[in-house]
Amino acid sequence: MSDTATKGDAKRGKVRAPHVTHEDKEFWAATAQGRLLIKHCEDCGKPHHYPRALCPYCFSERTRFEEASGNGVIYTYSVQRRGAEEPYAIAYVTLDEGVTMLTNLVDCDFDALAIGQKVRVSFVDTGEGNALPMFTPA
């Protein structure tokens, strides 16, 4: 688990924990073990993100989580320079499994980030029993 943010950070509001729901509790439980899960449909075979109970491609109710490799590339990003205590990088990262997710880029030189750059998942503890899947240059 990454040490880029601590439970203290979570209490100070730097790390926002999810409000876990029936639909995503399996996803968030896995993050506590450092595993990134992506929803797949057992009928049409397609992966999707964010995870839904019913497949957004075919409406099948037979969807299940599978562990992702944690590798991806930056589709796009932006460094928020104002309106925050410290700058942070938000990004869409396209996973090797073919789905793109909103995330943060951490443990990196913000000025050296680039679209297409390879990144790897790095979990940041929320202090509430789960962790946020963020990414760092591979």
Partner: protein, 391 residues
């Protein structure tokens, strides 16, 4: 059934305030309603249809119809597609009129985000249920600016668009705003000043962002027989279309907007082409919003937006596509953080020939108004409206 020629914009009003301390949001709704009905030459007793969005006080039409004292309403609509809602409301009003459900539709928008911020009033938006994407977005601290900035970053990557080209959009808006006495920002700015303004979220600078203002606006849409009884110049609804765009279950493309779809269908309904349009109101929450929308509406090829907007091509009297001659959201007004209303208002002024003389497009018999709601970098609503004159 087409709405082409079935309805007219008979009355408009833009609230002059930009900071509404001492006024409630409901009061602002009433002030703009009164203004638009006065402009049309109608009274509130003539109103038989009412439209507002999900941002209106209380339970939308139910509370507002009571507050406004509208006693003859038989059609109501609270379509909520963010800042594009009011462009959609014009479309829906025209549809309802064409179907014979009503003859005089009143659309209002009002809000006071700037005053609320000064008074420490917290606003709650939308449903009591959180958006289904919330757990997979909010922890990563999306802001309105960085969600648009990521679109600009990707557009730059794919097409070589530059910050200087984006800056030309703000420059053009500022050239227009200098003539609008109500505009929040009336100083003409240069490309150099835009790119030298503080970076908010890469690659968007402060001057790539719209203003935050209070106020609002209203539109009265009427049936042809009502229009014929009124004295104002008729502004005919020729076509309109709507399109949602979203992240496609994890397959986003942030280089285009829903305008690609809404624009094409609106042009088809109106029977005109992008090259025929003499004036365009383009939603301008950020410079990148304008750039992608101009491409998607077909004013230039995809990826050529940067070259198209440069060198004053959006400035009235200078370039090929005069846009946002009121100064737009970038300089004039972005009431309640929802700019679709003012887009329709300025397009109506242009078709009437009532824009400021310094920015009025000569013989402006065909205009477009485009609204963008939600987030260009996530899920959004695009609505395109085409307006013209009686032949």
């Amino acid at each position: 059934m087409s709405i082409k020629g079935k309805a007219y914009i008979a009355g408009i009003y833009e609230h002059p305030t930009r900071l509404a301390l001492g006024k409630t949001a409901s009061q602002l709704h009433a002030e703009v309603a009164k203004g638009a009905l006065d402009d049309a030459g109608l009274t509130k007793d003539d109103v038989d249809a009412y439209f507002c969005d999900g941002d209106a006080p209380g339970l939308g039409p139910l509370d507002m119809i009571e507050y406004l004292g509208l006693n003859n309403v038989r059609h109501m609509d609270s379509t909520e597609t963010g800042g594009s809602s009011y462009v959609a409301h014009v479309n829906h009003a025209a549809q309802a009129i064409a179907a014979g459900h009503c003859k005089v539709a009143l659309i209002t928008l009002a809000g006071r985000p700037a005053a609320n911020a000064k008074e420490g009033v917290r606003m709650r938006y939308g449903s009591a249920y959180p958006p289904p994407a919330a757990n997979f977005e909010n922890p990563f601290r999306p802001t309105i600016v960085n969600m648009y900035a990521m679109c600009a970053m990707r557009h730059m990557h794919e097409y070589g668009t530059t910050s200087e080209q984006l800056a030309w959009i703000k420059v053009a808006a500022s050239h227009h705003a200098q003539h609008n006495p109500h505009a929040l920002l009336r100083d003409v700015v240069t490309v150099e000043e835009v790119v030298a303004s503080p970076m908010i979220a890469d690659p968007l600078h402060r001057l790539d962002c719209c203003v935050i203002t209070d106020g609002g606006g209203a539109i009265v849409v009427v049936a042809p027989e009502v229009m014929r009884s009124l004295k104002r110049p008729p502004v005919k609804v020729l076509g309109a279309a709507e399109a949602p765009k979203h992240l496609m279950a994890g397959q986003p493309d942030l280089t285009f907007s829903g305008a690609r779809w809404s624009g094409q269908r609106a042009f088809e309904e109106a029977g005109v082409k992008p090259a025929d349009i003499k004036y365009a109101s383009i939603y301008d929450s950020f410079t990148i919003t304008v750039l992608e929308t101009i491409e998607d509406l077909g004013f230039c090829a995809k990826g050529d937006g940067g070259k198209f907007v440069a060198d004053g091509n959006l400035i009235s009297g200078v370039g090929k596509l005069p846009f946002n001659t009121d100064g737009g959201g970038l300089c004039n007004n972005h009431p309640a953080n929802r700019g679709g209303m003012t887009k329709v208002l300025e397009a109506t002024r242009q078709v009437r020939g009532e824009a400021h003389p310094a920015v009025q497009v000569p013989d402006c018999d065909l205009a477009l108004a485009h609204g963008t709601g939600g987030l260009l970098g996530a899920r959004m609503g695009s609505v395109t409206l085409i307006l013209g004159r009686d032949a």
